[in-house]
């Protein structure tokens, strides 16, 4: 049964085992009514108008708890009804355990407490292969559905397909994929199959690098050189010679998009060396791992782009300094050398997720990027 509102714990909660969806819906409704009943009081408590349905797939309890905290942090900007699913299809008993919570916060500079609903479902047994049948009845009608897949890309794609079936926008973190690069192609296939938008937290973490490059190319000193790229060198944090980096491939694909390269004309020499054929020119792109402390494996450490045309040559580089959040930008042009130092944004989960949610549902931006990245990835796998 739903408990009485407890302002000490800052949440109203209900938990039960082996429940059906009707019961969960009834308890959700009851929770809303209890909240509404309190609205007239001096405490000014109200359930927020949700702007999005956020469905989260968590592999285990710890991940569920972490995502719950992230969603709570986002509630101020992106109020949602959150459904957190912890699925263990391998268990024998087919069962759904549920817990509901209405978390509330005192909005900054406001007297009113605001609150968002969270439903956590622990789904075990066969029913875990039919998650959409549990999720759909609990969605708020006519609001976008964002699915956040927090885990690795699974070998058995059934669960992620189930989630995609209800999704307008799928958020992944390719940094958590077993094969950061290869699994991106599988995500592209899924997105096309289910006609949903895709966002990647790993790409969001890398976005500041793209934005910095844009600042210099869109209207800055590098603008005239964009069609004269002669080579690209990307370094990422990892032990030398190990794996490939999703961020490195995504940056290269993004750069190809900016420069208008046709990535279908590509050849590879190993998993990290590519040559893109563009306008009768060969543009070599090298990606390599370097030892770097302070960032996670696969994150970008430096980027160097060389240019050459009839007027001479130029070079643009960005590299992390000793402080991982600081980047040195060096621009070498025929007329001289310039160096800038900038601080890049924090890459914590709430921040990058917030950026993803700011993107309109069904946004095709990342799917278009995947289409450009795909030939590059496939060339290295051939």
């Amino acid at each position: 049964m739903a408990e009485a509102l407890d302002f000490e714990d800052r949440q109203l909660s209900w938990t039960d085992r082996a429940v059906d969806i009707d019961r969960i819906e009834a308890e959700l409704t009851k929770m809303r009514y209890i909240a509404a009943d309190e609205t007239d009081g001096s405490d000014g408590f109200a359930i927020r108008t949700s702007l999005v349905n956020m469905v989260v797939y968590a592999e285990d309890e710890d991940t569920a708890a972490q995502t719950s905290r992230v969603i709570e942090e986002l509630a101020g900007h992106h109020p949602s009804r959150a459904l957190i699913i912890v699925a263990t299809p391998t268990q024998d008993e087919s069962r759904v355990d549920a817990s509901l919570a209405a978390h509330w916060h005192l909005a900054p500079d406001m007297d009113q407490r605001v609150c968002c609903e969270e439903v956590t479902l622990h789904v075990s047994g066969r029913v875990a292969f039919h998650l959409h049948s549990l999720i759909v009845p609990l969605l708020i009608p006519d609001l976008p559905v964002v699915v956040w897949w927090t885990g690795a890309f699974p070998d058995d794609t059934h669960l992620i397909q189930e989630m995609c079936e209800v999704s307008d926008h799928l958020i992944i973190d390719s940094a958590r994929f077993g094969d950061q690069v290869g699994d991106l192609t599988r995500i592209g296939v899924l997105a096309e199959l289910h006609r949903c938008g895709v966002g990647d937290l790993n790409y969001e973490r890398m976005r500041p690098w793209c934005e910095l490059f844009e600042q210099y190319t869109e209207s800055g000193a590098l603008a005239p050189w964009l069609n004269a790229v002669t080579s690209v060198e990307i370094r990422y944090a990892d032990e030398w010679g190990r794996t490939t980096s999703g961020q490195a491939f995504l940056f290269l694909a993004w750069l190809a998009q900016q420069c208008g390269w046709d990535t279908r004309s590509v050849s590879a020499n190993g998993s990290n060396r590519l040559t893109i054929r563009q306008d009768e020119r060969n543009i070599p792109a090298y990606m390599s791992a370097v030892g770097y402390e302070g960032v996670e494996r696969g994150w970008l450490v430096s980027i160097k782009v060389a240019f050459e045309d009839n007027h001479g040559s130029a070079m643009f580089s960005m590299s992390r300094t000793g402080d991982p959040l600081h980047v040195t930008i060096r621009l070498e042009l025929p007329e001289g050398v310039r160096e800038d130092h900038v601080r890049i944004e924090s890459c914590d989960s709430p921040t990058v997720l917030m950026h993803q949610l700011d993107v309109a549902p069904h946004s095709g931006e990342f799917v278009r990027l995947l289409a450009v990245a795909n030939p590059l990835i496939l060339a290295t796998r051939a």
Binding site: A36, S133, P137, A360, S363
Partner: protein
């Protein structure tokens, strides 16, 4: 204090108490009586809204006694009432329950019923007024009406006492049978005394459609073809046919849902303002809408309707059988459990505005709503800030069940910079705004029938007009090959043809 009391009595109209009467329920041992009627009557008793002198006489083929009927009624109320049983109220309510067993076409049984009614009238002071409730399959209507015609009921209501009859759907299985049924009823009862019950009309939110439309000045100016792009009516059920297999297999979704509930919803949403809020005026306007619905020809039926039948699947975390595996359903049945269609109401107000209807069983969730989608704002102003090719339209959705309420979707700016637009819902929840349980549809409708208010009941001409529309679709279906069924998996939103139907017009079904 005196002033306050005077203000109170003059500003709040007193509710008209119903006249003394005896309710006779044919089919008193059935599901409807025990799940709906007796709990509804008990809740009216709790609210002291039953007639002051009142009795219920149950009539059914099952052998039973007054005492047994009372005991069964108590159990039903304990199980199905929205409020718990109060012993004091129960005792007084139970004292007015009586039972007669017998065949519906058996004159002797009906004579015993007449004797019982006379005795009850003496004991309970029910003043010779009778409300007959036909909670029986339509096959029994004829027998019961014939037998009632022998008694002192029916048209005798033109005198000091009255006799009314409540009939449960289906009101016929086609236009001809509906007309026959009307003729049969009119031979015994006046049209004003026939209450064709469609429990949808008793729901608070359905009644609120009229209040919302006609008590709010901002709605009427935009409630027309100039501002409305299209209207969607959805009646989605997550359940299957349950124990109604044999009835449903003969009926199908079109007859079971569209002909009655959905036509009623359309008529309320599309009607012109009535002259007054009474049975005659409201029903006059409703029937005009039904007459204005464009009848379908075969080519329209091909392109503007889709039908389907569910196969096995998963609904709400449960594995469920396909329709053909349900009890009392034919193994090779082609009966439709899903219908989607596009209708046009050829009136000045609604010309060229499509009304999209969909209803089905074993859909992903239970949801009944009417959604009015308004025309989009020109996009020019915000084009550069949009990722989508068009602005989201405003949508006004009226949720009939569950979570009864009204939402208005509009675009808003996401706080901060740069400029981003995001849809948000302004949401009114009935239950959260009025912290009280609404009466059940049957409570509302029974009380109206006791009072003689037929506003929320269906008139014979409405029934026939709705059948005329339905028959045009049935005729089209009869002339084209049926789809291969099952053609949708339980737990999905119907067959692909339903999506194609609306997508051909550049629109989409709402996600519920």
């Amino acid at each position: 204090m005196t002033t306050q009391a005077a203000t109170f009595t003059t500003s709040v109209p007193l509710e008209r108490a119903p006249e003394a009467c005896c309710l006779v329920i044919f089919g008193a041992s059935g599901d409807l009586t025990h799940r709906m009627l007796l709990p509804a009557l008990y809740n009216l008793a709790l609210d002291r809204r039953l007639p002051p002198r009142f009795a219920v006489v149950g009539f059914a083929r099952t052998e039973s006694s007054d005492e047994q009927f009372r005991e069964e009624a108590r159990k039903s109320i304990e199980e199905f009432s929205r409020r718990p049983l109060d012993p004091a109220i129960w005792d007084s309510f139970a004292a007015g329950l009586f039972y007669v067993h017998g065949g519906y076409n058996d004159a002797t049984s009906h004579d015993r019923l007449t004797e019982t009614l006379q005795r009850v009238e003496q004991e309970r002071g029910t003043a010779g007024n009778h409300l007959f409730y036909l909670a029986v399959p339509p096959t029994a209507f004829d027998d019961i009406i014939q037998q009632l015609s022998r008694g002192p009921y029916g048209r005798s209501s033109e005198g000091a006492t009255w006799s009314r009859v409540i009939v449960e759907k289906p009101f016929g299985t086609d236009l001809t049978s509906a007309r026959d049924l009307n003729r049969m009823m009119h031979a015994v009862f006046r049209e004003d005394d026939i209450y064709r019950i469609d429990h949808y009309l008793g729901k608070e939110t359905v009644q609120n459609i009229l209040v919302f439309r006609f008590a709010n000045g901002i709605m009427e100016p935009i409630w027309n073809r100039r501002y409305v792009d299209h209207i969607q009516v959805t009646v989605a059920e997550s359940i299957g046919v349950g124990r109604r297999g044999s009835y449903y297999d003969e009926t199908g979704a079109l007859r079971d849902m569209v002909q009655n509930h959905m036509m009623q919803l359309i008529s309320l949403i599309a009607m012109e303002p009535p002259l007054a809020f009474n049975g005659r005026s409201v029903r006059n306007e409703k029937v005009k809408v039904l007459h204005a619905i464009r009848l379908m020809e075969e080519k329209d039926v091909r392109t503007a309707t889709a039908r389907g039948q569910y196969g096995r699947g998963w609904v709400a975390g449960e594995e469920v059988p396909g329709y053909r595996e349900e009890e009392e359903v034919a193994e090779r049945s082609t009966t439709e459990t899903f219908v989607a269609m596009r209708l046009f109401v050829d009136s000045w107000r609604w010309a060229d505005v499509p009304f999209y209807l969909r209803t089905g069983k074993r859909l992903p969730k239970r949801s009944t709503e009417i959604a009015v989608t308004f025309k989009r704002a020109p996009q020019l102003l915000f084009k550069e800030f949009m990722d989508a090719p068009e602005l989201d339209p405003n949508v006004l959705s009226i949720r009939i069940q569950p979570n009864e309420g009204i939402s208005l979707k509009f675009l808003t700016k996401v706080p901060g910079s740069p400029l981003r637009l995001r849809p948000a819902n302004m949401d009114f929840m009935y239950g959260a705004s009025f912290i009280m349980q609404a009466p059940s549809a049957y409570e509302t409708l029974l009380l109206d029938a006791f009072r003689g208010d037929a506003t929320l009941f269906t008139r014979s001409d409405e029934v026939e007009a709705a059948w005329t529309v339905t028959e045009s679709i049935l005729a089209g279906w009869a002339s084209i090959p049926p789809p291969k069924v099952p053609n949708y998996e339980a737990g999905t939103w119907g067959p692909p043809e339903a999506d194609e139907l609306i997508e051909r017009d550049g629109r989409q079904w709402r996600r519920l």
